[in-house]
């Protein structure tokens, strides 16, 4: 039996902002079928897919905001390049945002702001991450020499510069995988976080397995309808995520820790993996959407961004964000029908759940009187999560919001809650309310 609907979260004097549609390319493990593409190719796929599915008139798109984390230097404003390549109007401005794993959340909330303030009626938001190719640079020494070479006027000056070339100049610089402020790898931080909250290896493996099993089930039942096919030039049409692999506890227990050796608990199997993928959503004012004949999926309501210590609380964003966003909208945890958390690491998700259940943490770290409580597992990430579906950094945010909207529809719920952590010790939460059916 459906529970009676609660109050709507619409606010007087504020335009209702709706999610009209959300799509994504299949999420593939880095180095697989997408390997020879470029980031904006995937982004084009998502954007084009959105246009195709909605049949939205391109000239009606007022603005495009897109997220990305590891930037391809050639397309530093990947939003604009992808939009042009996807056949959007060249009259539609586009900008790129970056906020680590919540980049496309930032793109969406930017869109919400543009619509709510009346600046725009229809904004496309999204995000792309392409981990099959990352910018690897010459060393600083080499770059300095090459730049000086550009300025050297005489042959003699050029030769003397070349003469200073040493073997060490040729050592390349890889993109940073560790936090700049703390020089710690995220997996290392996640392992320490799990240890701080006493999350065992077994708990982490079980959670990761749950994610894969649920994702497989969702895939098999055809629930992952946000996926649009992607044709890779010279290869097959890709239509399914390829990282969903339910394993067995026994197999998972055999893996060695990936970051903290030899006693750590975070392994390749209970972490999210490097993924290629892109996502896109259409965000509109409700009145305009209805006027154009669309049936919006959900309202995008209150949202918050939080940030905390990047060393010891790097991945605790959800714990900090959720009580705040609930308070803003006057809801409690019990009012929420569907939870979609970003799963960076199984240990990180479980640490957040434990922190939310802890009065000690609430009192000593958050300055609150009491804990907010943890979401019940029967409402939590029921169609898999980043651990199994994959996690293209800047594409995950739209995947979460679209998925929670689809789940509300399917499960008949009213409120959905999205939460995610991000590098830099930042976090985000957003309340999504189902549109009347």
């Amino acid at each position: 039996a459906l529970k009676p609907l609660g109050k709507t979260l619409s606010k007087p004097g504020v335009r209702n902002v709706v999610l009209v549609e959300g799509v994504r390319t299949p999420f593939l493990q880095a180095g697989t079928t997408y390997a020879d593409l470029m980031a904006h190719d995937l982004a084009r796929g998502a954007l084009q897919g959105l246009l195709n599915r909605t049949a939205f008139p391109k000239e009606a798109v007022d603005y495009i905001v897109y997220g990305t984390v590891i930037q391809e230097v050639k397309t530093s404003n990947v939003a604009r390049e992808a939009a042009l390549g996807a056949g959007f109007s060249d009259k539609t401005p586009a900008h790129t945002v970056t906020m680590a794993c919540i980049s496309s959340n930032q793109a969406m909330t930017t869109a919400v702001g543009l619509v709510a303030s009346g600046q725009c009626d229809a904004v496309v938001a999204g995000g792309v991450e392409f981990m099959s190719d990352v910018p690897i640079r010459h060393s600083r020494k080499m770059r300095k020499m090459m730049l000086s070479l550009n300025r050297a006027r005489t042959l003699g000056a050029r030769l003397s510069l070349l003469g200073s070339l040493r073997l060490s100049h040729l050592v390349p610089e890889l993109p940073a995988v560790s936090e700049f402020s703390t020089a710690e790898m995220m997996g290392h931080s996640a392992d320490r976080l799990a240890a701080a909250f006493g999350i065992s290896r077994l708990d982490q493996d079980e959670f990761a397995l749950r994610s894969h099993v649920l994702a497989k089930k969702a895939q098999d039942e055809g629930l992952l309808t946000d996926i649009v096919d992607f044709k890779v030039p010279g290869k097959d049409i890709v239509s399914k995520d390829n990282g969903i692999r339910p394993s067995t506890m026994e197999q998972m227990s055999k893996l060695k820790p990936a970051f903290i050796k030899p006693h750590g608990t975070v392994t390749a199997a209970n972490s999210s993996y490097l993924t290629d993928g892109a996502s896109a959503v259409l965000i509109m004012s409700e009145e305009k959407a209805l006027a154009m004949g669309y049936k919006p999926k959900a309202y995008l309501r209150d949202f918050v961004y939080v940030s905390q210590d990047p060393k010891d609380q790097l991945l605790l964003g959800p714990t900090y964000a959720i009580p705040k966003v609930l308070e803003r909208s006057g809801l409690t945890l019990a009012d929420i029908d569907a939870f979609e958390f970003h799963e960076a690491f199984a240990g990180q998700v479980l640490a957040n759940l434990t922190a939310m259940e802890s009065d000690w943490f609430a009192q000593n770290c958050m300055g609150r009187k009491a804990k907010v409580g943890a979401p019940p597992m029967e409402k939590f990430n029921l169609w898999g999560g980043s651990l199994s579906l994959g996690h293209p950094f800047a594409a995950t945010g739209c995947r979460l919001v679209t998925m929670v909207a689809h789940r509300l529809k399917k499960e008949g719920g009213q409120y959905g809650l999205v939460a995610a952590c991000a590098a830099g010790g930042q976090g985000h939460a957003m309340l999504v309310e189902a549109c009347p059916q």
Binding site: A183, L193, A195, H263, W360
Partner: protein, 730 residues
């Protein structure tokens, strides 16, 4: 029987005995009698329990594994034999652990020093947390002792001869990751952030979980104790397997020690002897020599002096003036010179918002660079990250005006040493600062009451005398006038402690305490130079007495202009007692541009390239022009040394007599940490106790006959000379 056990307990978890240490009577665990007795009892029970297959030793005390042996246990001993016995008991306990039928894992979090580290290395496997509090060291040498519980025997086996000597002869602190690289620990654990309980409590729990896992592995033989040796290690082991090579190592190390200590410190030599005995003649002889040497060392005056300094230093790291009414949260430094920038650096280093004000952009830029360089050097040495460097630097605000001064809690001025400038600055500052703000003057000689005379609120004025370079020198001399309020003093001490300083609080007067002791010593040095002893000879005589820096070099380091300034000012204040050398020597040097190291020439010539400094021939000529005849009766090497030292010590005693110094402990600490008085003598007062005031007075009387009243012993010295039972230190 369990009831009587208060310091050590254990429980058996999955066939692993987890032995937990916690001394309920103290903030730190030390190897007291009670702890050792409890430990032996537990060990015997563990060994008697056939279900126990391995064991973990862990401390449940936050921030401390075992801080070392209890110094008081050694201090109460009356003879070398008694101390040797203590050593033998320690050796025996640790040997039992080493030869235990079940493997032992030491789980180390926090301080693990001296006997604590010897305990840990007797275990078969070591796991340590990378907490900032986890520090391993064998600091016995700094107390004039040696690691007397098997340390000299196990260290060489574990680290190889060269590294073992380095660790034991320097007593340096080793952090966990470094210890892992050296092979001192097998396994390290990162510290944890907050979870569902106090992070350190959880860290200790986590450490125990990991250590228990290792202990199980050791029992099942899935974990091995042996570490994989690198190629370099194998080569080194092979080379050191040759007796001839080892002999060369002992010889080189001994030479190095002799060069650095001038033979004034017996402990390093004893350590070498104990190591050599163990390696060359076997463990029985090694342990024997270690125990005997430990006993002997404990009875030496050098050890007493060094222990006295250690305890004095601990005492001078406390605030005896109570908690200040307001914590200093923001501070301004006037003058971005060497001192000003140094003070700013040690302040921002502790996260205190600091304004650095100068009068010119050039001065400001130089000062800012000095702070940056100080922090960047730390980053280069990896003691902080570049990010921490940037964060720390963000607390620094450089400016030319007084904006923001209306919000600062304390102003420290480090402007030019000139009373009229100090008055001008004080008035300018008082016009803008809030009423509660403290005004501190960083001066090395100007009396604070004269500076405070220009103040509308003299109760808020105090002296804070830093030593150069501020980020390296540990001492801070705080000077109070009769008008300085107690809360102002409490605040100044709190700031100094935050900056990491060892603090003495002294009364006001020309030169306070430290500069007042230094001035007559420098003047005597000039007299000695005038008498024809060359700068190099003078340096070697002073360093030969135990001063870390010779007098000629000291003049160059301090700056010839500063030395002249101080000698003249204090000469005016104290009259002929501060006579001796002719200040005109210094003035002529200044005229010729020989201002010391900063100008490239002083007593010596300084160049960036040459390591070996040459005597400045220009200065030699000046000295010839001011030549004085040396009275032969008091000009032998030893007399030259005692002339310098007796003037220093007499002035220190006068400071105590006049109440400038509150107690001899602060006098000793100030002299050693601020002026480099020989640490092996423990400071002027400890020196008087061990050398004998009567003997020094006798020498001074001879010098007095030759030179006059600069050598007249003060009343306090005479009193102590008359009654040999009177001692400055109990």
């Amino acid at each position: 029987r369990c009831v009587s056990r208060t310091h050590v307990n254990y429980e058996v978890k999955d066939n692993v005995a987890v032995i937990r240490i916690n001394d309920p009577t103290s903030k730190v665990n030390t190897l007291t009698r009670q702890l050792q007795d409890d430990m032996m009892e537990v060990l015997n029970e563990v060994w008697g329990n056939s279900a126990v297959k391995s064991a973990v030793i862990i401390s449940t005390k936050p921030g401390c594994f075992i801080a070392g042996a209890n110094i008081d246990m050694i201090k109460v001993c009356k003879s070398a034999e008694e101390v040797s016995k203590l050593s033998k008991e320690g050796q025996m306990m640790f040997e039992k652990i080493e030869k235990s039928p079940i493997p032992f894992v030491a789980a180390v979090n926090g301080t693990c020093m001296g006997g604590g580290l010897e305990f840990a290395i007797a275990c078969h496997y070591r796991v340590a947390t990378k907490s900032k509090k986890t520090v391993m060291a064998l600091p016995e040498v700094m107390l004039g002792l040696l690691p007397g519980a098997g340390g000299t025997q196990r260290m060489p086996k574990m680290l190889g001869l060269p590294t073992a000597f380095d660790v034991m002869l320097t007593g340096r602190s080793i952090r966990a990751d470094k210890a892992k690289k050296m092979g001192l620990v097998h396994h390290v654990i990162d510290p944890l952030g907050p979870g569902v309980k106090d992070p350190e409590e959880r860290l200790i729990e986590y450490l125990e979980e990991v250590a228990v896992g290792v202990a199980k592995g050791l029992a099942k033989k899935t974990v091995t104790v042996e570490k994989k040796k690198g190629l370099m290690q194998k080569v080194q082991d092979a080379v050191l397997g040759i007796p001839l090579v080892r002999n060369q190592v002992y010889k080189t190390v001994t030479q190095k020690v002799m060069k650095q200590t001038k033979g004034l410190y017996p402990a390093p030599l004893s350590i070498i002897e104990a190591v050599q005995a163990g390696v060359e003649k076997g463990p029985a002889e090694g342990y024997h020599v270690e125990a005997v040497n430990f006993g002997k060392l404990a009875m030496t005056p050098e050890s007493r002096a060094l222990i006295g300094l250690y305890q004095g230093q601990v005492a001078c790291k406390k605030n005896n003036f109570g908690k200040p009414e307001r914590e200093v949260k923001s501070l301004a430094v006037l003058g971005a010179g060497l001192m000003g920038a140094g003070i700013a650096q040690v302040t921002v280093d502790k996260g205190v918002a600091t304004i650095l004000k100068d009068t010119t952009t050039e001065g400001l830029a130089r000062g800012h660079d000095q702070v940056y360089k100080g922090l960047n050097d730390k980053a280069k040495k990896k003691s902080i990250t570049t990010f921490e460097r940037d964060m720390t630097l963000s607390f620094l605000k450089g400016q030319l005006d007084y904006s923001g001064f209306e919000k600062v809690d304390m102003v420290i001025e480090a402007v030019f040493e000139d009373l009229s400038i100090k008055h001008k600055v004080l008035k300018e500052v008082e016009a803008v600062i809030p009423p509660h703000c403290i005004f501190a003057s960083n001066t090395s000689a100007l009396p604070i009451r004269e500076i405070a005379a220009a103040s509308k609120r003299p109760e808020k004025v105090i002296g804070m005398h830093y030593f150069s370079p501020v980020d390296k020198m540990q001492l801070l001399e705080i000077i109070t006038t009769d008008k300085t309020s107690k809360d102002t003093t409490a605040s100044a001490v709190a700031v100094g402690l935050k900056q990491g300083k060892v603090i003495i609080v002294v009364g006001d007067g020309p030169g306070f305490y430290t500069t007042r002791c230094l001035a007559p010593t420098l003047v005597e040095g000039i007299r000695i130079l005038q008498e024809g002893v060359g700068p190099k000879k003078l340096d070697s005589l002073t360093t030969g007495f135990g001063f870390p820096v010779g007098v000629s070099t000291l003049i160059d380091e301090v700056g010839v202009d500063v030395a002249a300034h101080v000698a003249e000012d204090l000469g005016k204040a104290f009259g002929s007692r501060f006579g001796g050398g002719n200040v005109d020597v210094l003035k002529t040097m200044i005229q010729k541009g020989f201002k010391g190291r900063k100008s490239g020439k002083g007593c010596y010539v300084y160049s960036a390239k040459k390591k070996d400094k040459q005597v400045n021939s220009g200065t030699e000529e000046i000295l010839k022009a001011f030549k004085l005849t040396a009275p032969p009766a008091v000009s032998g090497d030893e007399d030259v040394q005692y002339r310098l030292v007796s003037r220093f010590v007499n002035e220190a005693a006068l400071c105590l007599q006049e109440g400038i110094l509150a107690d001899p402990v602060q006098g000793d600490i100030g002299a050693v940490f601020g002026l480099g008085f020989p640490p092996c003598l423990g400071g002027p007062f400890r020196f008087l106790d061990s050398f004998g005031a009567d003997k020094l007075v006798q020498k001074m009387k001879r010098y007095e006959d030759a030179y006059g009243n600069q050598f007249t012993p003060c009343q306090l010295l005479l009193d102590y000379a008359k009654d040999p039972s009177k001692k400055f230190h109990k």
